[in-house]
């Protein structure tokens, strides 16, 4: 049964496509407008091999046929690409400079982040969004965040975030209005950094 073997490893997407993607979109919107605040993933979903639950939910809610997604080598499993193509119908691009969404694990080689599109002065919205899968997010005072959406300061700790990331963030901040936004995703929690957020590392 050749036909069957092609499709039998597919996983289900959102249980209720409209309500669930709406709920995830709302959380992403809140997270992006209040950078550094930690939100719980509002739904339950099966994640394919290579992606974690929140990253999968974010992609299912945001990606469609007009958004190119770049997956890091550790994320680009067959199951993950098939899952995204089936449920979102989005193109998977091998070229990181074409990506609207880039997905990676924090313990991987993050040198690609320098090539992510940052948008142009006329169209800063054409930048990409980095979805970084991390092990844990807490509000212990490792990083102090300031900027729009934050009253005074906000503390955030991302487990296993490399020093190179902070150097890149500092560069990224100077590019305003261009720049890359970041979503941190654990299996159950989501936090975001907008391009305007300034970070002081303790």
């Amino acid at each position: 049964m050749t036909l069957q073997s092609q499709t039998s490893d597919l996983l289900p997407g959102f249980e209720h496509a409209a309500f669930d993607s709406n709920a995830v979109f709302r959380v992403l919107l809140d997270a992006m407008s209040r950078p550094g605040r930690i939100y719980d993933l509002p739904i339950n979903i099966t994640a394919p091999d290579g992606l974690n639950t929140s990253a999968t939910a974010a992609l299912l809610a945001m990606a469609d046929m007009d958004t190119a997604v770049w997956l890091s080598p550790a994320c680009a499993t067959n199951v993950a690409t098939t899952h995204l193509k089936f449920h979102c119908g989005n193109p998977i691009t091998p070229d990181v400079s074409q990506a609207d969404f880039a997905v990676a694990r924090s313990d991987e080689d993050l040198s690609f982040i320098a090539q992510l599109p940052v948008g142009t002065a006329e169209y800063p919205d054409q930048s990409s969004t980095l979805i970084l899968m991390v092990d844990d997010i807490t509000d212990s005072p490792e990083m102090h965040l300031r900027g729009p959406g934050i009253k005074d300061t906000h503390s955030l700790d991302i487990k296993g975030l490399p020093a190179a990331f902070h150097a890149w963030r500092a560069e990224n901040h100077h590019l305003f209005p261009c720049g890359v936004d970041v979503i941190f995703a654990t299996d159950t929690k989501i936090a975001a950094l907008s391009r305007t957020t300034r970070i002081e590392v303790k």
Partner: protein
Amino acid sequence: MTAHTANATATDQSQNADEAIQARQHWMAVLARTERSVLETEWSNKYGDIIWNHLREPQIGMVMVRGRAGGAGQRFNLGEMTVTRCAVTLSDGTVGHSYVKGRDRVQAQYAALFDAVMLRDGAASDFIDTLAQQQAAAKRAHAHKVAATKVDFFTLVRGEDE
């Protein structure tokens, strides 16, 4: 000689794959033309105890239908039509798909279920054959009715120019 045999096997395999695809196209087309109530009754009578899940719940969308004048002319957009699609998975992992005309989510769901059952063990072949015969008979009857009213247009030579 070995290479020759291998070649022959490869051709056989691709032929088999083609046949499998054609067979599946046939039953998916038959299911897509079958009314919801027929599918529903047959499913609850024979397969009601099968455990299954939605892989993609029924979604309504549009497709652009394209045609060629006379089947050979320039391609043109005939118009958009409403289509409902669905994907289900049986408890053993078999995945069934359906694309049906119109907005009937339940019909799309049952068409996908029957597709999955056909992929798994072909259990519904008799049901599909009966439906195919009924549809062919209905199409013939309609063609008969239309043929009876066919008008051939032709111009008589009027001889005015001579």
